[in-house]
């Protein structure tokens, strides 16, 4: 059985933000504009959290790319009244845009604050609408969204593999963020496959989870504690 997961090496992360931009481009995420961003409505399915450790002049900056953790026991799932978010058999926390009526309970219950809401319709003035990814829907106002582990790329790879009558190979599916990371800090793969790169990284001493105490059992592993 497949269980998709991701390993993010925060010791490698430079905070460049390429993953954020790639995610926007791949998934048709709207840019809300300066005013709305100032009101706290920016939408970055993948965001870089920046923390300062220590006091000047001994300050260290920590970068932490945070995306939907696709939790095994996601707190966001039981509370949606219309079943717009659910767990797929292959380990993704899926979002059904057309079912969402916008109660925003799931966003409140997410301990990682990784859910984003479409407060307004997205604006893509000419000719920007040509950059929209045809494999991904454009969400209307009033709908919740979040990282899907680039489910369109997973489906695509599975289709190709099915046509060729084989399993999906490790490394064949690259999410937009892992594809664009300049430091190769993001690795995506099948956690159930012990040979996959992500499963090997998960077995390292440096492997942790975010907010372990909430017991949501996330599928994203953070490697930290090195340099």
């Amino acid at each position: 059985m497949t269980r998709w997961g991701m390993a993010i090496d925060t010791d490698r992360c430079t905070g460049c933000g390429a993953c954020v931009v790639a995610c926007h481009a791949e998934n048709n995420i709207q840019t809300v504009g300066e005013e709305e961003a100032a009101r706290g409505r920016a939408m970055h399915w993948m965001r870089i959290e920046r923390y300062y450790d220590g006091v000047f002049p001994d300050v260290k900056v920590r970068f932490q790319p945070v995306l939907c953790q696709h939790c095994e026991r996601a707190p966001c799932e039981p509370v949606c009244p219309v079943y717009a978010t659910y767990r797929t058999p292959d380990g993704l926390n899926a979002m059904v845009y057309s079912r969402c009526i916008g109660t925003r309970y799931c966003a409140n219950n997410c301990p990682y604050t990784v859910r984003y809401f479409n407060w307004f319709d997205g604006q893509w003035p000419e000719p920007l609408e040509r950059q929209l990814n045809p494999d991904v829907s454009v969400r209307p106002a009033g709908v919740m969204e979040k990282c899907t582990f680039c489910v369109q790329r997973i489906q695509d790879a599975e289709d190709v593999a099915g046509d060729e009558d084989r399993e999906v190979r490790d490394g064949e599916i690259r999410t937009a963020c892992s594809q664009s990371c300049s430091a190769r800090a993001i690795v995506f793969g099948d956690l159930e496959d012990p040979e996959s790169q992500v499963a090997q990284l998960a077995r390292l001493d440096r492997a942790t989870h975010l907010l372990e105490e909430v017991s949501a059992e996330p599928s994203v592993i953070y490697l930290r504690g090195g340099a």
């Binding site: 026991r73 039981p78 079943y83 767990r87």
Partner: protein, 163 residues
């Protein structure tokens, strides 16, 4: 056949009138007592039974309502088995909460339905000529009787009228 209406100022006057009517052998079905206030429970025609099944119906309604909503949750969730990622299709504690509300709404609807049924509401029976006395907190006693029947029982009445 006509109806004699009499309005009494106090419950005691009305009680005396009912006593006389009972003594005269007038059947309870021919007598109607009306008041704007629920009065002492003995203030009705002799032989008239005043009962209510409301409490039993409330309990019955509670069972029916609880069963209905529990069935809704259980059978519809099983009929539309959606992927839940390991959570049970029918989760008992939430089903319990909804069943509780079902118990309440079943009891409420059955209670109100029983009250309306037992009171004969909405009622169509035409109202009498002395009805304004009810608004003034008096008691009306109406008797269906033959023309010229003895009216001694209406001796204390404020007002009488034969229709």
């Amino acid at each position: 056949m006509s109806t004699l209406h009499a309005a009494f100022a106090t419950p005691d006057d009305a009680r005396r009138a009912l006593r006389i009517l009972g003594a005269d052998g007038v059947p309870a079905s021919a007598i109607e007592v009306r008041s704007s206030v629920p009065l002492e429970h003995d203030l009705h025609a002799i032989g008239d039974k005043v009962t209510s099944k409301v409490h039993w119906m409330a309990v019955l309604g509670a069972f029916l309502g609880g069963f209905a909503l529990f069935s809704l949750v259980k059978f519809t969730s099983e009929a539309y088995p959606l992927p839940t990622g390991g959570m049970p299709i029918v989760s008992l504690p939430p089903a319990g909460v909804i069943t509780f509300e079902g118990v309440a709404i079943g009891a409420i609807l059955c209670t109100v339905g029983t009250v309306l049924y037992e009171c004969g509401l909405p009622g169509r029976k035409s109202l009498g000529p002395l009805d304004q006395h009810l608004a003034e907190d008096h008691i009306l006693v109406s008797v269906e009787c033959e023309e010229g029947a003895p009216e001694a029982w209406a001796a204390n009445a404020l007002e009488t009228e034969r229709v």
